[in-house]
């Protein structure tokens, strides 16, 4: 892919190096590490070059080096096993290893290609790259979520097409940004009304961003895009009405945003699994924390 983006990793200092990684085999030891390595720094170098999973396999293998002070077989570095978390680092690992891309890696490339077609899409990609938010495109669901705390994870339902996943990613990226900027509502600190309002505003912006990532595409690129057509129509209609009333572009955008905000509370838009208006749901969530229910009878 030719898109420009920030490389990300578990080891932030390697961002510059990541972009010039060469292909390495997807089994240990990687090129340049054939000989015994005794220092932790070399392990970290391997981790940066070949990725955590390669290091993990290597450590489990017979050639695993010993580290003073640790018994044989002890885990020496922090790692994660998850093969389905497609962080930007994960993409790099696939490239670095020279291995054939996984279906998830290919899907992520498609997602990125779709989002590169609009300013809102590019902004969402910038968020996940800036905050190094892993994206799991293989989430069994139900639904898709941004899971805090920051940097958090974006989990997208595995049955979504690349197109659907792309617009969901835009939605969830706004939640990720709010969380990483400490702008999301704190359910423990805010009063009920303020919490509900702040969450509604955040959810509205997430929804509007997803709409804008479609509307910001060229007419040709928008052909056949079917995600959330009803909300997109509502947004476009409100904006047009404002522009027809001689409002400025900024005022029209605000009016369109407000039309989506209203949908969350007027019964137009409800939670998919509990069929509640969102203000009702956020209020119940606040109550759950501040007024724990009585003992359960299971």
């Amino acid at each position: 892919m030719s898109h420009a983006r920030i490389k990300a990793s578990n080891t932030p200092s390697n961002e510059a190096a990541a972009s010039s990684r060469s292909a390495a085999p997807d089994h240990a030891p990687a090129e340049g590490f054939e000989h015994a390595i005794t220092g932790l720094s070399r392990l970290v170098a391997l981790q940066r070059t070949a990725g955590n999973q390669v290091v993990q396999r290597w450590l489990r293998g017979p050639a695993a080096p010993s580290r003073p002070g640790l018994p044989p077989g002890s885990r020496r570095i922090q790692r994660h096993d998850g093969p389905t978390i497609l962080s930007p680092e994960g993409e790099d690992k696939a490239k670095a290893s020279g291995a054939e891309k996984t279906p998830e890696a290919k899907k992520m490339e498609e997602v990125r290609a779709i989002l590169e077609k609009s300013p809102a899409g590019k902004a969402a990609l910038a968020v996940i790259d800036k905050y190094k938010v892993p994206v799991d495109l293989n989430y069994p669901g139900p639904g898709s979520i941004y899971q805090p705390p920051a940097p958090g994870k974006i989990k997208i339902l595995k049955t979504k097409t690349a197109e659907q996943a792309a617009f969901t990613l835009v939605h969830e990226a706004n939640h990720a940004e709010a969380s990483n900027l400490n702008k999301t509502a704190d359910i423990n600190k805010l009063g009920r009304a303020e919490y509900v309002k702040t969450m509604l505003d955040e959810e509205t912006t997430s929804t509007v961003n997803a709409i804008l990532s479609k509307l910001g595409m060229s007419a040709e690129d928008q052909k056949g895009v079917k995600t959330s057509p009803l909300l997109q129509e509502r947004y476009a209609k409100a904006k047009k009405a404002a522009l027809d009333a001689k409002k400025s572009e900024e005022e029209a955008n605000k009016a369109a945003w407000q039309s989506i905000r209203d949908a969350f509370t007027d019964g137009t838009l409800v939670t998919s699994n509990t069929k509640e208006p969102y203000d009702v749901y956020y209020g119940k969530a606040w109550d759950k924390v501040h007024k724990p229910p009585a003992k359960e009878d299971l």
């Binding site: 909300l231 939670t271 069929k275 924390v289």
Partner: protein, 203 residues
Amino acid sequence: MAITREDIAAAIAPLREDIAAAIRDRQSTDIERIDCPALSRYRVYMVTVFAPHAPIVHYVGYAEGGTAFVLSEDPAAFTAMAAADGGVDITTEAEAAAYVEVFLAVTRPLSRLSYLVKSIEDVSFRPGLEPEEAAARRRFEREYRSVIRPPSARKTGDSFEVTAFRVIEQSLERVTVRVTRHGALAIDAEVLEQDLPLVIGGE
């Protein structure tokens, strides 16, 4: 001995650790038993996670000493649970209809808005309809007022055939579920109407 969240979580953990963790978390998760009289050993639970941005719902099947099941969006898992239960014995049309109602609620799509409708009043239209949308609503209500009814069963040999109606986003479906005496299920759905001006499910 009373069943606890920890019991259910321990049984579910091998299948979905994330669901098990949610069940253990009393502060942000509700767990509610769904009554299903046809089951002799198993209990069905709805697990609602009060996630920050939108709820997450799972359905699970649990029996003390038995294999647990994640039932959400998985009709085959429901049938497997009935087989594992070993005591399902559906002998009347009313029992078949009640059993299928639970099955449809528990295995319905959860990533899209879907709900069982027992009368025309259960179909949720959006507020503020445009004139042509309002006309579509009137036409729909006229045609389906006498059609949509609660799940009803009829005996077909050793089995039952249950008919029910459900909405998925902007569509109305007639669902036909064949259920055996011991609780095995097979489902067919027919889309009756599309693009109705109904409420929208959020992301």
